[in-house]
């Protein structure tokens, strides 16, 4: 049974991947209590273990170090979450890539300016909207006849993609914007409202109204 310490700041959607996976697998994942983001991860001790200084970062009980959120989630998961056949495991890797290359860039480009994290640029946002539409359309199509992304049960694919969609569903996808993606909405809520997810994320609220840009 995997166990270890997870270094992260609070409400880090990337850290949620491993934390939710651990809820399913029973892995003992302790969140480092004395971790101060911006300080601890720049210390020599931390950089010795995790040279890039990024989080989430995981130290296993037997002294190994893992970075990259999908990798940590994989490590603390169980066989069901990791996929039971070669094709399932390959498909899970595929969805990791989909989340990181098709959803995340577009989500950040749309959400960050509205949260005041980056400069607002109308053209960038318009491109982001197109990219989000493409990704959600592909996802919606895939989920037409499926309950989960891979196989018949929840896997790391669902956890990874759903957590990567959290910002979009929290800040952007008000009812009219998410209406074209009914299969995604159904699947997303299936994943996020599992007890294992609620234990980590809490009671997640879908956007009532798209966040507006406030100069």
């Amino acid at each position: 049974m995997a166990s270890g310490t997870l270094y992260t700041y609070p409400e880090n959607f990337r850290a949620y991947k491993a934390l939710i996976a651990a809820q399913y697998s029973g892995a003992k994942v302790k969140i480092a209590e004395d971790f101060i983001f911006g300080e601890t991860n720049k210390s020599d001790a931390f950089l010795k273990k995790f040279p890039l200084g990024k989080v989430p970062a995981f130290e296993t009980a037997d002294g190994k170090y893992i970075t990259e959120s999908n990798a940590i989630a994989y490590y603390v998961a169980n066989e069901q979450l990791r996929g039971k056949t070669d094709i399932e495991r390959a498909e899970i890797v595929q969805w990791f890539g989909f989340a990181d290359s098709e959803i995340l860039p577009a989500s950040c480009a749309w959400v960050f300016p509205l949260l005041g994290l980056m400069q607002y640029n109308k053209q960038t946002i318009e491109h982001a909207k197109d990219d989000v539409k493409k990704a959600l359309t592909a996802l919606n199509s895939h989920l037409l006849t499926r309950t989960y992304l891979v196989g018949e049960r929840l896997t790391l694919a669902d956890i990874s993609v759903a957590t990567t969609l959290l910002h979009l569903y929290q800040y952007i996808l008000e009812p009219s914007l998410r209406k074209p993606y009914q299969n995604v909405n159904r699947w997303f809520q299936t994943v996020i409202y599992q007890p294992e997810s609620i234990n980590v994320i809490g009671a997640f609220k879908l956007a009532d109204k798209t966040l507006e840009y406030d100069p």
């Binding site: 700041y9 911006g38 950040c108 480009a109 960050f112």
Partner: protein, 32 residues
């Protein structure tokens, strides 16, 4: 190496910028 199809490849060039923005935001939150 072939270069023309590369021009159509989708790469998140700005990723480091977004990573930095995210870090700054959460560092500020951590400082309270």
């Amino acid at each position: 190496m072939a270069t023309t199809p590369l021009a159509q490849e989708k790469v998140w060039f700005e990723k480091p910028m977004y990573d930095k923005a995210e870090c700054l935001h959460f560092e500020r939150l951590a400082k309270g």
